[in-house]
């Protein structure tokens, strides 16, 4: 029941999608309804089967790329829309004809249905492990009911409410992304901002390498500090924001740039004014939908930045090394190391300190890792929904791969299992922490 409650926002998104599709492809109610519902069923069953036959990460990856594709499509359409609004391209009229064909309506609503269904199923599978089949059937029924309500609602909406094709795409994509943003592993915004951050980072590196070898001799430290700003998280965030919102903004602009009808030939003043005002008003109505899409995208970013998921992130417990320099952590006792949760510790030696955690992977093996990775600032990790997340770059690392080195994975530490305790060498720990942190700090400051 609780999981069904969690589906409510997704069903709202589905309601919006159906509503907009019906209005956008006006006059094709039955085919849009049918195609949308079929799409939804395909989405649900497809995702369900994927979950059954492959590990979760594959399915999430597939659904995520479908969503990403819709976003890229939105980008394309927004560019076309803004280009068209400059009245330059009569060539594009085939696009207009294409939108009017019944097959476009059917395919589009089917695809939207697939997306919505897939996202809903991902939510189900993320929340529970058993009874998914049963829940899926319930989901399908609920979706059908919602679609029917949307149909009834659409019939009562005023005629003046019109949706432009670009606006329709914008809002449908926004609804899908919004609906996906509440699921940690489907969220697109944080990977996007991370990609931007890394892209900027790599670019600056390459640039420096190609121009300023050997750079340290020429570039002063305050310049390095300025360049260091480019490597910060904020650049990724704002860059991501720009990419995220631009298409919808372009569509709004395209609508605002639309030419008003020529009125010079109308002799009667009142009629001329009426035509003009009606056109402006219609334009404003049409811009309403993409503006709403902007709001939805903003909500999606918010959800992505402040996820409602609670991370499991215990306060690091201080530990000390014995006389031989070894840290011994009992497996059972006050803390059960084998409960599959993250257990954080902090080890101090003189002024140096190191944070690390012990975790039992789903494969049943214990692993000891630094609370930091080899690339990011050591902000640490939290655990949620079958993965740990790097707080700095928001990368999700599936629990299965924790303990393996590389990328943003936590840096593994050699350890021995001695009966009912885990033994880590204090010196190794301190050294590897210092090495990691120093390496990442250097990157942060922009040096090499």
């Amino acid at each position: 029941m609780a999981t069904l409650l969690k589906l409510i926002p997704h069903l709202f998104a589905w309601f919006g999608i159906v509503l907009i599709m019906l209005r956008g492809f006006s006059g094709r109610r039955s085919s849009v309804m049918l195609a949308g519902m079929i799409g939804f069923v395909i989405g649900v069953t497809g995702t369900f089967i994927l979950f059954r036959s492959y590990p979760g990460s594959v399915t999430f990856g597939v659904v995520k790329s479908v969503l990403g594709m819709s976003f890229i499509l939105l980008w394309g359409c927004s560019v076309v829309a803004i280009y068209r609004s400059t009245d330059r391209a009569k060539v594009m009229s085939w696009g207009k004809r294409l939108i009017k064909t019944p097959s476009t309506a059917i395919i589009a609503s089917c695809l939207a249905g697939v997306g919505a269904g897939a996202v809903c199923t991902c939510r189900l599978s993320a929340a529970t492990t058993d009874g998914v089949a049963m829940a899926s059937v319930l989901l399908l029924l609920a979706a059908g009911a919602v679609a029917y309500i949307a149909l009834a609602f659409e019939k009562r909406m005023p005629e003046a409410f019109k949706v432009s094709p670009a606006g329709m795409l914008a809002i449908v994509t926004a609804l899908l992304l919004f609906s996906a943003s509440s699921i940690l592993r489907l969220d697109l915004f944080s990977p996007l901002s991370m990609k931007v951050m890394k892209g900027v980072h790599d670019f600056v590196h390459q640039f420096m390498e190609s121009i300023l070898i050997p750079d340290h001799l020429f570039v002063r430290s305050y310049i390095w500090k300025t360049i260091g700003l480019l490597f910060s998280k904020e650049v990724g965030f704002w860059g991501g924001m720009v990419i995220w919102f631009t298409p919808a903004i372009l569509i709004v602009l395209a609508i605002q740039f639309e030419r008003l009808p020529a009125v010079a030939h109308i002799r009667q003043g009142a009629q001329r004014r009426r035509v003009l005002v009606d056109a402006i008003r219609a334009r404003r109505y049409r811009a309403l939908i993409p503006v709403f899409a902007l709001l939805l995208l903003a909500a999606a970013t918010y959800q992505s930045c402040f996820p409602s998921v609670e991370y499991w992130d215990p306060k690091p417990l201080p530990v000390t090394a014995g006389s031989s320099g070894e840290i011994i952590i009992p497996k059972k006792g006050e803390i059960n190391l084998e409960d599959g949760k993250l257990h954080k510790y902090i080890f101090r030696q003189g002024v140096k300190e190191a944070r690390f955690f012990v975790l039992m992977t789903p494969a049943g093996e214990l692993t000891v890792d630094l609370d930091a990775c080899a690339i990011c600032k050591p902000d640490g990790y939290g655990q949620a929904e079958g993965s740990v997340i790097c707080y700095y770059c928001k990368t999700l690392i599936p629990l299965e791969t924790v303990g393996k080195p590389g990328g943003c994975n936590p840096v593994p530490i050699p350890f021995t299992e001695n009966g009912d305790s885990v033994v880590v060498d204090g010196l190794t720990l301190i050294n590897s922490w210092s090495a990691t942190v120093q390496a990442t700090a250097r990157v942060k400051e922009g040096g090499k």
């Binding site: 009667q268 003043g269 009142a270 009629q271 004014r273 009426r274 003009l276 005002v277």
Partner: protein
């Protein structure tokens, strides 16, 4: 015969127990100039308000320009008025703090969008090209009434209602206003319905109906008079 612009059957308006307009059947063809005469309290103004969409009948049916006014909501009636009706009042009712041209633009604003050039030319048309920037307080009665006419016709209404438009004017101004209305009607081809006490003013119309105590008592048309 031209199409009917106004068609009423059993049009009735009660204010509480008082019956301001007894069941009235009236037909006005498009383009006609109809004069309504009667004593005060005879229901002339009530008829005007009903036809102009300012008031709602208590009973009967009322079709203006092919639209059933009873079906409109209050805001729907307002939209009907701005598109379809121009009204000239006895007391002018100009907004005191707006200039002549702004008073005209106010009507444009409610209709669609203000257009100063158009408002100017319409004031020039009524012979007030030299008083565009004056406030109503600085204008004579005749001039104010001409601003009122410019405002009434600015949205090209099909129906022009005059509620004793010359009631407050002297002989000369009255003549001027009536001439103006006649000219404008010839140009714009709107229908005129005018309430008046003045027999001379009534003579400008095509047809005159007499109301007494909310009832139509007499009707005469200029053609008939001419025949006699």
């Amino acid at each position: 015969m031209a199409e009917l612009i106004i068609e009423t059957t059993n049009l009735t308006r009660n204010y509480g127990d008082i019956c301001a307009l007894k069941p009235l059947d009236l037909q006005v063809p498009e383009g006609e100039w109809l004069t309504v005469m009667g004593h005060s309290g005879s229901g002339k103004s009530t008829l005007m308000n009903l036809v102009g969409g300012l008031d709602r009948p208590s009973a009967g049916s009322l079709q203006v320009g092919g639209k059933d006014l009873l079906a409109f909501t209050e805001d729907g009636l307002a939209r009907f008025r701005r598109e379809f009706v121009g009204i000239i009042f006895q007391q002018h009712h100009l907004v005191p703090y707006l200039t002549a041209v702004e008073n005209v633009m106010l009507a444009q604003y409610f209709h669609s969008v203000p257009d100063e050039a158009e408002a100017r030319s319409s004031l020039e048309r009524v012979g007030l090209g030299h008083r565009l920037k004056n406030r109503p307080g600085e204008l004579s009665g005749g001039e104010q009434q001409r601003v009122c006419i410019a405002r009434a016709i600015i949205n090209s209404p099909k129906l022009l209602l005059g509620d004793e438009p010359t009631g407050n004017l002297d002989q000369k101004s009255t003549l001027m206003v009536m001439e103006l209305l006649k000219e404008l009607r010839a140009e714009e081809k709107f229908t005129v319905i005018m309430v008046t006490h003045n027999q001379e003013v009534a003579a400008w119309g095509d047809r005159t109906i007499y109301l007494n105590d909310g009832m139509l008592v007499r009707e005469e048309s200029r053609l008939k008079v001419a025949e006699v």
